[in-house]
């Protein structure tokens, strides 16, 4: 029954596209809702993402990552600092440089925002066996990498 198997797979793939696109759209909205709730614009949110993932970065690093002019980074960091999300720290060896350090407490507070969200997730996961969750994990990991590459391709 190769044909019905093929049909079933084709259906699964098509549905994956649909559901994946819906999920993407909702994810974007969720993110922007959270950012808005904290008075962060897109640039600021992206910057915090980078800092959270990579730890302290210099202004120059941030300029490259965000694609902003040096002068703009100064303003960006000023705003984030005023809101308490980061602080400027002198670079240990090169005093020209400024390290922008994320405020862990503030980010934890942000994580607190996710708390009931996390609880909901776990609850929803009750519908899935551990094996299934591992499949999902594997899938998400692969897709994330694929999408990361696609993004890089777009922005080069």
């Amino acid at each position: 029954m190769a044909e019905t198997d093929d049909a079933r797979r084709a259906a699964a793939l098509e549905r994956l596209m649909t559901v994946g696109r819906q999920n993407s759209a909702v994810t974007v909205m969720f993110h922007s809702a959270i950012a808005a709730k904290q008075g962060l614009n897109a640039t600021e949110g992206k910057t915090l993402d980078y800092l959270q993932r990579q730890g302290p970065l210099t202004a120059k690093d941030l300029a490259e990552l965000t694609g902003l002019a040096p002068a703009s980074v100064t303003g960006l960091v000023d705003r984030l600092e005023a809101k308490g999300f980061v602080r400027r720290v002198k670079h240990p060896t090169d005093k020209r440089r400024v390290l922008v350090e994320p405020n862990e407490a503030k980010l934890a507070e942000l994580a607190g925002f996710f708390e009931d969200w996390t609880r909901d997730i776990v609850e929803v996961c009750a519908q899935f066996t551990t094996d299934e969750l591992e499949t999902v994990n594997r899938f998400l990991a692969v897709m994330t990498e694929q999408q990361r590459k696609a993004t890089a391709r777009l922005t080069d």
Copy 2:
């Protein structure tokens, strides 16, 4: 061996959180990269999303959906029209109203943007059995709904 099962599940859940967050971050970046490539800002992108999903909408509808003032919607539609993504159409029965109609051709062109992306996805999916893909679909559908509710909770 209930304990090791518990441990395995806990590990799977924790990993899900991590990988899920990474995936979200990348998704957001991917979206904003696509939007930027087309010269669209966040508001314009969101508006096109609504139009694509719900079909033609009046300026008033858009004002409510986006949370913008009427005057701002005029400007928003002007910009989208100038870029060729939408057109204004007279409402059939109420001549005060303006229907904002998405340009299917232009959106298809946008879909073309996704073409090689889609190809990559399918390729990546070769690593998964059809059963696994169906599990993923089920998971994504559930998570999408959950996240949709969470977003609504944040923006009310």
